[in-house]
């Protein structure tokens, strides 16, 4: 499996094709549309991420010490953002997830459009993913 840094670099390379914000938006929407639907049993308040304008649910399952995420949202754009995070962080051990700096978000120019973190919930999603990783790593230690 490629490193976190390489996975991030691959996303940055994908985004280099796009010149305008509209193109990037369209691409993120396509990623969101392609993200597999989440199992409905996890679409409950227990899995809901607080602090987002849109409803976002995130579930984590652990297989052989690796963390796998699935997520859903009423916003296709937010699903696209989740899809990017999953591309980078899915199927990794907790320590790699906790160490990920996720610099790709700045590199692809998303930060300037997502300044309103409360609205899009990107920061909350990252925090929740890292919370899962932290909980698991302290459990196994």
């Amino acid at each position: 499996m490629q490193s976190v840094a390489n996975a991030e670099a691959a996303i940055v390379a994908d985004f280099e094709w796009f010149e305008t914000w509209a193109e990037k938006y369209q691409y993120i929407i396509e990623l969101g549309q392609k993200l597999p639907a989440m199992d409905g049993v996890f679409q409950t308040d227990d899995y809901k991420i607080k602090g987002c304008q849109s409803s976002v649910w995130l579930h984590c399952k652990i297989e052989n010490g690796l963390l796998f995420f699935e997520a859903d949202s009423d916003s296709t754009f937010v699903k696209g953002l989740v899809s990017l995070l999953i591309q980078v962080l899915n199927g990794r051990p907790a320590d790699e997830i906790l160490g990920a700096t996720l610099t790709f978000i700045d590199a692809i120019g998303l930060r300037q459009h997502l300044a309103q973190t409360r609205a899009n919930g990107l920061a909350s999603m990252i925090k929740q993913i890292k919370t899962y990783a932290l909980a698991y790593s302290s459990q196994v230690q």
Binding site: W21, Q53, T76
Partner: protein, 414 residues
């Protein structure tokens, strides 16, 4: 529907030239600014007033005997008189400068409210209030044991006035309602509310944040006891707003904050307070903000308001009509009496996605709950997409919005 031909009467193109930001582009597209209910753009005259103040007569006010302080104090005090005239207050001393509508409501709740209310008294608000006209009263209710009552709304987003008459009783001590709903644009029958509340012995605060920039009003004619508004929603800068209060009420109210300028004399044996309105303006005020607000009021005088109102109404009616023709679009808030706000939802598209999509096309709207969570719950929506207009917007801009909404549905609808 044909394009309404209002531009001939009302020279929008000339007016737009007064607003530098309206000449700018976002993502290489001309900016279409439909988030005026959140804040309006500023004319050059307002921007110049800020620069002028800092370039030519920056000084602290009401304290210095020196030349600059005299000029700045005079400029500051002149704006109080301009604001008095603008709102139709009887005296300039009834105008208190605050940070904005939110602070004005909090001030009344924390002073008049804490002084006058006791356990079992009732505060009456409505279901369509902005959070800033809900939470201060909840805090007051917790502090005093008073009870918060809420006027319900009907499915069109209008106040249920029959319910109001039942809810407004001799127990009601404060009624606080919005003149115009920030989320729906509904214009409420505040005169009727004020008259009836007075019969019951209650005082009335009108949240005028969304009203002042869209039609003329007169606080003496309304006979409200308090009136709150924000400069930035009417051409002025952020961080400055107005609380109007009837003189005898302001006089009997205790101070809100302690500090400089609000006192007459201070000793450790006791402090005497300055007279109104200075009693409520502790500390160095937002001098530049007040002066720029004055420039906004001057600019306001140059606008033919009857034509401006008619133009805004044309924008609202045209936008509503066009949106209603799009399958999947539903207008939220269909009150008979509305101004400047068109809220809607798109079936199969989240409000957030739609807002982001419109942004990529250079169109600024607001999405979400608009700080009116109880209202959204009552209407059974998670939030809306809100286009809000001001007199500098054009029919051509509405056409861009309509085209963008159609495209948004093509790309996003599930």
């Amino acid at each position: 529907m044909n394009h309404p031909n209002t531009q001939n009467e009302f020279d929008v193109a000339a007016i737009r030239n007064h607003f530098p930001i309206l000449q700018t582009s976002v993502y290489n597209l001309p900016l279409v600014y439909f988030d005026n209910a959140a804040t309006t753009q500023k004319p050059q005259a307002v921007i110049d007033a800020i620069t002028n103040y800092y370039s030519k007569y920056n000084a602290n006010i009401h304290r210095g005997v020196h030349y600059l302080s005299q000029i700045a104090s005079q400029a500051y005090d002149d704006v109080r008189i301009k604001t008095q005239k603008f709102l139709g207050a009887a005296q300039a001393s009834e105008i208190v400068f605050v940070r904005g509508t939110t602070e004005a409501v909090n001030l009344v709740a924390a002073t008049y409210g804490r002084q006058q209310l006791k356990a079992g008294d009732e505060i009456l608000i409505s279901h369509m209030e902005h959070h800033s006209n809900i939470v201060p009263w909840q805090i007051l209710a917790q502090q005093t044991g008073a009870v918060l009552k809420v006027i319900p709304i009907n499915k069109n987003g209008e106040l249920d006035m029959q319910a109001f008459y039942v809810l407004c009783t001799a127990k009601t001590k404060i009624v606080s309602v919005t003149y115009v709903s920030n989320a729906l644009g509904t214009i409420n029958p505040v005169k009727e509310i004020i008259d009836n509340a007075h019969k019951q012995g209650a005082v009335v605060l009108i949240d005028g944040a969304q009203a002042v920039s869209h039609f003329d009003l007169d606080v003496q004619e309304l006979n409200c006891d308090f009136f709150a508004c924000s400069a930035h929603k009417m051409l002025g800068p952020t961080g400055i707003g107005v609380l109007y209060g009837k003189h005898h009420l302001l006089t009997q109210m205790p101070p809100y904050m302690g500090g400089g300028d609000m006192i007459q004399s201070v000793s450790f044996n006791g402090t005497t307070y300055n007279e109104v309105p200075y009693k409520f303006e502790a500390g160095t005020p937002h001098i530049e903000g007040v002066i720029a607000w004055g420039a906004a009021l001057d600019y306001w005088q140059t606008i033919n308001r009857a034509q401006a109102m008619q133009h805004e109404q044309s924008l609202l009616n045209y936008c509503t009509n066009q949106l209603q023709q799009i399958k999947r679009v539903k207008i939220i808030g269909t009150a008979a009496n509305k101004c400047s706000v068109c809220s809607f939802v798109i079936e199969g598209v989240s409000n957030f996605d739609a807002g982001m999509f419109l942004d990529t096309m250079g169109i600024a709207v607001r999405t979400g709950q608009h700080c009116t969570e109880p209202l959204m719950d009552a209407l059974g929506v998670k939030g809306t997409i809100r286009a809000s207009f001001f007199f500098y917007n054009t029919i051509a801009e509405v056409d861009k919005l309509i085209a963008a909404v159609k495209k948004c549905i093509d790309v996003l609808a599930k």
